[in-house]
Symmetry: C2
Subunit: 438 residues, 2 copies
């Protein structure tokens, strides 16, 4: 049997466990929290202008905007919103942001189709599974070449999760995958600009189109993972050795549980969390005493941190140099440090004293970032982090996610509504109560 056929067969037969569904609820809560935190981002206002050029039926809610748009428009804007502040979850195996693509896709498709809350949550679990497996199968080379997994792989996962939610046949799942693979795009050179979160929206929109165009039985090649010039040939390094990654262990464990989603407690790129954690263990220093800062990463794990000399806080979300400089100054790591304003001159000075290294390590060595501060008097302060808060080995708890939600929502009534609806979502016959939250 062909790989594509076997893979969509796994999705067709997927039955996520109760545990996975409980994890999915946390994912939905954090998605909504992160999107709500980004609701006034300047990029949203720009995207709303684009809607005026097109008009359209008001079917799907735009998060925090008190208005509706077409399913495709909502996917674009809700995807952007979720990822606007880089405050949404990541997944280590995905090397990107699953929920910012998957949930806007599922919300758009649930808006004009009858879908139960349980099926919605199951589809989300399946989407995370698909995205992590494809990302592992395509190898790190894909990301390191310059692709943005959230966009490139997100569209595949969104299309398959959407197809699963709407109970597509195996053939329809393969069709949807075909449309997704042929729309796969997103370049990492846009990290640190509004276009990075736009990729989540573009992937969600393309996933919605992939599902919709399958429903009108538009024809394509349904062997996206098999034929010469297939997805892995073009975007990765071929299909050799990937079938077990894609096929083994379905319905045994779920990647939304293990290693699980990585929820963020700071609004910057998770690749910087290790270094931030190490720097936090050093704490505030007297800047006059600092001669040099050296930050060491294992195995290209700084690939996402493309800004070494950021000009704005937004670029600073992808600059370990900037983030460590904030911590050594004793500044808080909140939103205002990561907006579009130019960064301050004190941080700039400290960044000029900072060097970055990347060390090739054996696979047996756990991922780490080391921060070393050399003082003018010759003293050295050095800390290493392998398990920052949020990472799979040091997970954010349910209560901490509720606290994150509270800190953003700041309305007991709204917060109660969110928590009640989300935590009982698997009992809902349809999605209308949930959609009314947005």
């Amino acid at each position: 049997m062909k790989l594509t056929e076997e893979f969509v067969g796994k999705i067709y037969n997927a039955i996520p466990t109760e545990e996975a569904i409980e994890s999915a609820k946390l994912g939905v809560l954090d998605f909504l929290t992160s999107s709500y935190a980004g609701k006034d981002d300047p990029g949203v206002l720009k995207l709303l202008q684009l809607i005026e050029l097109e008009g359209g039926l008001e079917i799907t809610p735009l998060i925090g905007q008190s208005r509706m748009a077409t399913p495709q428009q909502s996917a674009l804007i809700n995807g952007f919103l979720a990822h606007a502040l880089d405050f949404d979850d990541v997944h280590v195996e995905v090397r990107g942001h699953p929920s910012a693509v998957l949930l806007p896709t599922l919300i758009a498709l649930a808006s004009n189709n009858e879908v139960s809350g349980k099926r919605f949550l199951q589809a989300y679990v399946v989407g995370v599974e698909v995205m992590a497996r494809i990302a592992r199968a395509i190898s790190d080379q894909h990301y390191e070449k310059g692709w943005h997994n959230t966009g490139t792989i997100g569209v595949l996962a969104g299309a398959l999760a959407g197809g699963y939610m709407l109970q597509f046949s195996r053939k329809q799942l393969a069709q949807a995958l075909g449309f997704a693979t042929t729309q796969s795009s997103g370049l990492r050179i846009h990290f640190g600009t509004e276009t990075k979160p736009l990729h989540a929206g573009l992937a969600a929109r393309a996933a919605v189109l992939s599902v919709q165009i399958t429903m009108v039985n538009f024809l394509n090649n349904t062997s996206s993972f098999d034929d010469k010039g297939n997805y892995f040939d073009v975007y990765g390094v071929g299909t050799e050795g990937i079938s077990s990654i894609l096929l083994d262990g379905w319905n045994e464990g779920w990647k939304i549980d293990s290693p699980g989603l990585w929820y963020k407690i700071y609004p910057f790129c998770s690749a910087a969390f290790f270094g931030a954690d190490a720097a936090l263990h050093i704490g505030k220093l007297n800047l006059d005493e600092i001669k040099e800062v050296v930050i060491t990463f294992s195995n290209n794990t700084d690939a996402a941190l493309i800004h070494r000399h950021p000009k704005t806080g937004e670029e600073g979300r992808f600059s370990i140099e900037y983030i460590v400089s904030l911590i050594l100054q004793g500044k808080s790591l909140d939103f205002q440090q990561f907006d579009s304003k130019p960064i301050d001159s004190v941080s700039e000075q400290l960044i000029l004293k900072t060097a970055r290294q990347n060390v090739k390590e054996q696979p047996s060595i756990a991922r780490y970032t080391k921060v070393k501060v050399i003082l003018n008097n010759g003293d050295i302060i050095e800390k290493v982090s392998t398990t920052p808060k949020g990472s799979p080995q040091n997970k954010v708890t349910k209560q901490e996610l509720i606290d994150k939600c509270k800190s953003i929502v700041k309305s007991c009534e709204l917060e109660d509504k969110w928590l009640n609806t989300i935590f009982s979502l698997d009992q809902h016959k349809n999605m209308s109560s949930f959609l009314s939250l947005l």
Copy 2:
């Protein structure tokens, strides 16, 4: 100066000649003819269903449909229409279909912006120039790996042509290019299905979005051709040696003139035109006498012809084996041979006797296809084609394009309207008369 900056500077300063504008008029005529020929294609009806899911403002005409849609929807559908029958122009340097992406993009953007007929034609000239130069710069490896240039490179050309038409600043052109590069997609595995022409529509839609989102000043990386992980790094083999291809000779000659667009007289892939031409020089044979047919291509020039054993006429558009078998049977090469019906058993039998070869030749050897028929009595009939009708060395004339138009439109009134409007388009203050033709 950075490559991106220099490249968009060339576009900013482009002033196409009168000759190029006259060539552009022929391109517009043939685009409209080919789109009109595809107006009842089953795929169009499917795409029209998608519009019902979204609704939207009725701004831009859908060719031959007597209805309007939003600019983005029109780009998707008009792009599909133009390429639906594979009857639209190609360009040897593009290795794809420029007009099917460029004109739907420009039509969509001209619909709610004030644009003169001359500026519209100039933008089309610039778009062909950009698409051919980028395709040459990215190297044949891009196409041969599995990308569909019409989609992947089309979006860049469409975005830049659109930006030029709307008199974007240099910075805006670089922004639009950034949005286009990060949306670039389309896989050749879909050749022979409805999704191949969909790629033209998807590229046009993405180009329209690239221009629209630039107009609301959405921010991105504007060094798409320079920074590490740039477009050529990810989609090609890097930027080494490409600056002269992208930058030299602007405003001297125009690729829409020389080598010029390749207009089609048959509705199948132009890569098969050489072989068809050779077979036509052999002509009809007695099938019982044929022992074997061997078709030889130079230098991977059969890469587009992905179907060796096509199941339908639609797949047959990308099968030299099928096309040669039709010719040797004395069948005509018209639309009905290339629709979605299963191919006949006589053709199937002949295909089973056909073998294909690809020969690596020196660059000095002109592109060719050779058809050799070995008869049961040992006789061999062999013909070679290097200049099939339509190719740059054997161009379709203006009168032949008018005849092609007449054979499709079959209404003297409509045809007169088309010819009068298109051939005077450079005199029109705005695009309304032209848009009313669609």
